[in-house]
Amino acid sequence: MFVIKIGGSQGVCFESIAEDAARLFREGQRLVLVHGGSAQTNQVATQLGHPPEFVTSVSGFSSRRTDRKTLEIFTMVCAGHINKRLVELLQKQKANAVGLSGLDGRIWEGARKDAIKVIHQGRRMILRDDFTGKVEKVNAALIRSLLDAGYLPVLSPPAVSYEGDPINIDGDRAAAATAVALQAEALIILSNVPGLMEKFPDESTLITRIPAKDVEKFMAFAEDRMKKKVMGAAEAVAGGVRQVVFADGRIPAPIAAAIGGKGTVIS
């Protein structure tokens, strides 16, 4: 069983990823795809007159200000556009994909942070109407029943809070939680970089192997967004996933390459 996180950043090629995933699926490989949607959410939100606002947490992470209107645009773009685009591509490759968000059947459930501390326009603030949180429970039974029935699950934000609110969650961390819940052999995180680099963006400084127990130490090499990915990897390895691979989503047959060890392999 593989869990494959598909990054939405510039350059990642949905077509080749879908082709590769469909080929593996047709060969009988059980796999689950997970995707995010921040890049495209920004674009649509701006067109709809509700441009994205980013806040920085007190410890330096930057994240989307997710008020109710932003949440609805984020949900619409992730679950209604990106998810269905991937499902379409997979269907056209004869892989019977089923697209679901974490809200559906409570596939991704977790606590909504009712208050978040941020630095916003230079002030330290508490934001209360934010719909953000973390995936704490995964409905593995529903995912497995779909796999057993011959479907290819494609999972999208949002997740759902215990009270039933949709919540913005980090796609990488949700993928990690899913890999642990399904006891996947590998979690593959595809993005528009070849993996973790000692001196970003110099691709010759690619780190190819990281022993699982040292993963926290490598946080120092991680740029902003990559920090979250490394945190997700640490959580997955701690949760029993044998291998986490940060790999390049821009190349042909990117999943096969990652399974073959191309990228930053954490095991």
Partner: protein, 57 residues
């Protein structure tokens, strides 16, 4: 501000600038407690919530 609000922890007066916003975090000058401004005019303070780091997309 008409009257400085009281710190809910140590009851000390907590001076606020006129531009203070609802939701802003201020620190009690006496006990150093992190406080959340839940209302302005008149200002009301409560202990700011603890919370760990979890962020969305």
């Amino acid at each position: 501000m008409a009257m400085d609000p009281e710190c809910p922890e140590c009851a000390a007066a907590v001076p606020l600038s006129p531009e203070t916003l609802v939701g802003e975090i201020v620190t009690c000058p006496d006990c150093g407690m992190e406080l959340e401004v839940t209302q302005v005019n008149p200002a009301v303070l409560q202990a700011a919530p603890e919370e760990e780091e979890d962020w969305g997309e």
